[in-house]
């Protein structure tokens, strides 16, 4: 599987997909108007990887802000991960958040409520 690297733009985060390590990293802010369309190739890559019974998968999120359609796109990725987890694949979420940003932690907690997969909220000081 090909690795992918999207540079951050004004309203989109940097996205790095390293299938060899099974790590998808999303970092920055995410509020494009067309978030569902923007994330579609990312969702497709994750689906393909997990369907091929990848050895393990880590989603590393470090997002200071998401608009609601980005939240929806992220939920699509988390749903794929949750299904894979229930089927026995080792998956986990590392959610990095700024200690000063309450909203990022609250969002992590809301996602967690709907998921049983390992979900680690990791505070950083910036």
């Amino acid at each position: 599987m090909a690795s992918l690297h999207w540079e951050a733009s004004a309203t989109t985060p940097e996205i790095v997909w390293a299938p060899a390590q099974g790590v998808l990293s999303i970092r920055g802010e995410s509020y494009p108007e067309n978030a569902l369309e923007f994330y579609q190739p990312v969702v497709a890559a994750v689906a393909e990887y997990l369907e091929a019974a990848g050895d393990g998968f880590t989603l590393r999120v470090d997002l200071a802000y998401l608009n609601t359609s980005s939240v929806k796109a992220l939920m699509d990725i988390l749903d794929l991960m949750e299904d894979a987890f229930k089927a026995g694949t080792a998956v986990k979420v590392d959610w990095v958040y700024d200690e000063e940003n309450d909203r990022s932690l609250e969002m992590a907690e809301e996602f967690q409520e709907d998921l049983s997969l390992p979900f680690h909220a990791m505070p950083v000081t910036r």
Binding site: T11, E33, L36, E37, N67, T68, S69, D102, R103
Partner: protein, 186 residues
């Protein structure tokens, strides 16, 4: 051409306790730049990062909703520009920040919009959270370009029920448009 005199406009903006206002066609880059300006301004006014992010986030959802509406409804470029032309206002009152927007909506689309806001107005925080999760977990409709979460998210961030008004003018009324004003008090 008449001599420019902005005093009346200034007085009106002062009546609203306007901090930042915009009037014109919204574009993705204008939303980005205005959003940055709002954040920079508020960062000087408050130490609460959450407050800054909430105001910014409601502004983004309001303006992106308007852009989305214009894109989904307009039959030609002229109507797209008209429907994407909006007023956005960030103001302050009694220790609260207010995030407001105003735009033209087709009269036929109004009942669905106001019905949705009316339902949200009836809900408490718990009900809004439940609805948000339901919509978030529902599979996106075929060809959907929007998550349908914007107004629910605004209602959740607001400290009071969302408020709105609809006003018809002679000229635009004849063309079937009504001006829709929406306000979230944070």
């Amino acid at each position: 051409m008449a001599t420019i005199d902005l005093l009346d406009l200034r007085d009106r903006l002062n009546d609203f306790n306007a901090l930042i206002s915009f009037n014109g066609p919204l574009s993705e880059s204008i939303i980005k730049d205005l959003g940055d300006a709002i954040r920079r301004y508020l960062e000087k006014e408050t130490d609460s990062r959450a407050t800054v992010m909430d105001v910014f986030s409601v502004f983004v959802e309001q303006t992106q909703n308007i852009r989305q509406y214009a894109a989904s409804r307009a039959v030609d470029d002229a109507e797209a520009r008209f429907l994407a032309s909006a007023v956005s206002l960030i103001s302050a009152e009694d220790g609260h920040y207010l995030v407001s927007s105003g735009n033209w909506v087709r009269e036929a689309d109004l009942p669905a919009l106001t019905g949705h806001v009316d339902r949200l107005r009836e809900m408490d925080g718990g009900a809004l959270k439940t609805l948000y999760r339901e919509v978030l977990r529902a599979p996106a409709a075929e060809g959907a370009t929007t998550a349908g979460l914007g107004l629910i998210d605004m209602a959740r961030k607001a400290s009071q029920p969302l408020s709105y008004s609809c006003r018809k003018t002679q000229e635009e009324g004849q063309k079937g448009y009504v001006f829709f004003s929406l306000q979230a008090v944070l």
